[in-house]
């Protein structure tokens, strides 16, 4: 599997995953320290998904994200400094401080927004797919949603609509085992895999191990390719877990104490990746360590900048409601 890979792409994949991890670990710390306002949902543990999917996408391709959106943003190329400043509510943030963690978007990068409404992204991505199809741009749209989100009627409707219109869309259900504190075993007892949701609308559905970057990358690649070629939409289920609480502040009493620790030490996506690429001799530990250091500095810098950045001026309150008034 590794044979198809070029070293620079491996380094890129690793770097993206590391950026997400470092970003989230840092936000976790800063949130606890009290500097960050609002509700914050961290993506740590799930890096292989955003990265493995988005590596197939061009700037012009679109993604629709969720409340747990930082990873998707970073993987789609949104600037980390802007993101961190946004999370702090600063003028220099991606959205000028008006959106916050749950609403980071960067349409120029094809990132159509984190979303505070569970299940709101898939309909929007149908629109992205429609635009691409209408213009014949060859673009695709990818909607991320959670195991919890897969219960939302909007997600079903969007998958079904994408079949009716044969849109170049891929639906990615990130099954991290919980919606807040509730397991999909409770909310979807009838299906073994959430990729089975695809059967209700008759699209292909595949489940992969989300700790394995290469598995995600390969499965996503096939689906995105399929969509790009006009062969229709499909559903990818990525199974893994999140390392932090549902949001910052969640005590996670619904999980065994050491579960995350064990996962971090065994199947963690970054760990596995490192093991695979180093033992295949394609990248050295030193090279990866260098990435780690660079990324650490980068994220550190983003925090320093964010803290120092100015608040939005009060006049910003009234702007941007309409394009024309």
């Amino acid at each position: 599997m590794l044979k198809k890979w070029q070293k620079k792409d491996l380094l890129k994949a690793y770097r993206t995953m590391r950026e997400i991890r470092e970003f989230e670990e840092r936000v976790h710390i800063e949130f606890a320290a009290g500097g960050i306002p609002g509700f914050v949902h961290l993506y740590a543990g799930e890096e292989a998904c955003a990265t493995g999917v988005c590596m197939h996408l061009k700037a012009n391709d679109k993604i629709a994200s969720t409340h747990r959106g930082h990873g998707h943003c970073i993987a789609k190329g949104v600037d980390i400094n802007g993101m961190m400043a946004e999370i702090y509510g600063k003028k220099t943030g991606t959205c000028g401080g008006k959106g916050g963690s749950m609403h980071i978007a960067d349409l120029d990068k094809g990132m159509m927004g984190a979303n505070g409404i569970v299940g709101a992204g898939p309909p929007l991505i149908c629109g992205a797919g429609l635009a691409a199809k209408t213009k014949g741009s060859g673009g695709v749209g990818v909607a991320f949603f959670g195991d919890g989100g897969s219960n939302q009627g909007t997600v079903f409707e969007a998958m079904n609509l994408s079949m009716a219109w044969q849109l170049p869309c891929v639906f990615v259900v990130e099954n991290n085992g919980f919606a807040e504190s509730t397991s999909p075993k409770y909310t979807a007892p009838g299906v073994t895999n959430l990729s089975d949701r695809a059967k209700g609308v008759g699209m292909p559905g595949v489940t992969v191990d989300g700790f394995d970057f290469f598995a995600v990358h390969e499965a996503a690649g096939e689906m995105i390719d399929r969509a790009r070629k006009g062969q229709g939409p499909s559903l990818l289920e990525v199974k893994f877990t999140r390392y932090f609480g549902h949001f910052e502040g969640d005590a996670m009493t619904y999980r065994p104490k050491d579960e995350v620790k064990k996962i971090r030490q065994t199947v963690d996506c970054l760990l596995q990746f490192r093991n695979k690429v180093t033992s295949a001799g394609m990248v050295t530990d030193a090279e990866l360590d260098a990435v780690d250091r660079e990324v650490k500095a980068l994220v550190e810098e983003s925090v320093v900048q964010a803290k120092a950045a100015p608040n939005p001026p009060l006049s910003d309150l009234l702007t941007d409601v309409y394009v024309s008034y």
């Binding site: 978007a105 992205a128 009627g153």
Partner: protein
């Protein structure tokens, strides 16, 4: 002589002109074309009351039928708008907003603000409002106050064929999300409609009838009821000024205030529920901004606080009509 078109034809013409002009305009909705998936000819419906009929012949698959999945296709229209298209989606009846409001009120309406000004969402949602069809509680409502309540949306309620055409063209060219409310009881009315393209700006009320004694603000079908009332009252020497705001968001507060400052009296006629509705909205705005000019209480003419009833006798009693408007005008005149 200027041609006469029906309100419905005027809307159809506006759609055709804009689709002609701009290839990013697409029309979507349930049976807006019709007959899809069958072996018979398409354009089998052209919308439930035939408003989009004929567009398929001109524009083919840019007239897109949808599954009955309002969240998905209205969400898709919004997503496509954020990606550079100008979709016109049809929510068949405004009464159905309950199955798709999130996409409109939390997504389309807020993108630009939440994203710090870095989004444009030029989507139009055409939808049918109003009573008179004996269509009962779930197909007769006037829920535009719900949209008007929400910052980020623009809301249009045209009362004539000419306005419908000009305002729809404006709506399609506008870069913000627009809810375009078509009163089903107006589809059949005819009026002079200029040929070709023209736009009517949002936020500019129309003085439908000038008068000096009482200001009547009315929207959509109610403009016609108000006009009937004004005609009757004129016989008693009472001159009503009828102001049709045409858009509820933005609202032409200036022109309403100007009229009230002149007449000193205000009656607001609205077919929507009176609680937290447009009648209250306009009344409150005037009570705040033109209080000193008011010579009498403000009267609101709205349906009673009940769902729309089915039985024709009850629906007739439910809807505001010219008589009720006359009574309100007399009340503010103290006569």
């Amino acid at each position: 002589m200027i041609r006469k078109l029906s309100y419905s034809q005027a809307i159809n013409e506006a759609l055709a002109l804009e689709m002609e002009r701009d290839s990013s305009v697409v029309v979507m909705g349930e049976d807006v074309c019709g007959g899809r998936g069958t072996d018979e000819p398409l354009d089998a419906w052209g919308g439930v009351l035939g408003v989009t009929k004929g567009l398929y012949a001109k524009f083919g698959d840019r007239v897109m039928d949808t599954p009955i999945s309002e969240s998905a296709f209205i969400g898709a229209a919004i997503g496509a708008a954020a990606c550079g298209m100008r979709p016109v989606a049809e929510l068949m009846f405004i009464d159905f907003l309950g199955v798709c409001l999130d996409q409109i009120a939390n997504q389309a309406a807020k993108f630009r603000y939440m994203f710090g000004g870095k989004a444009e969402t030029p989507v139009v949602i055409r939808t049918m409002i109003g009573g008179g069809f004996r269509a009962a509680a779930q197909h007769s409502q006037c829920w535009y106050p719900i949209f008007t309540h929400i910052p980020g949306l623009k809301v249009v309620v045209p009362s004539s064929p000419q306005d419908a055409k000009g305002l729809l063209i404006t709506a399609i060219r506008d870069n913000d999300p627009v809810i375009f409310c078509e009163h089903k009881a107006l589809y059949g009315i005819k009026g002079e409609v200029p040929e070709g393209s023209y736009t009517i700006p949002f936020g500019q009320a129309n003085i439908v009838r000038p008068g000096k004694d009482v200001t009547i603000v009315a929207l959509g079908l109610m403009v016609h009821k108000a006009t009937q009332a004004a005609t009757a009252l004129a016989k008693d020497g009472i001159e009503c000024e009828i102001v049709d705001p045409r858009t509820t968001s933005p609202l032409d507060t200036a022109k309403i205030l100007e009229s009230v400052r002149k007449t000193g009296r205000l009656v607001v006629v609205d077919e929507a529920s009176g609680r937290c509705g447009m009648a209250a909205d306009i009344s409150a705005m005037v009570a705040q901004q033109a209080f000193a000019s008011l010579k009498a209480q403000i009267e609101m003419v709205t349906p009673p606080f009940t769902p729309p009833p089915f039985s024709p006798v009850l629906e007739d009693a439910y809807l505001p009509d010219a008589e009720k408007v006359q009574a309100a005008v007399k009340a503010v005149l103290g006569t």
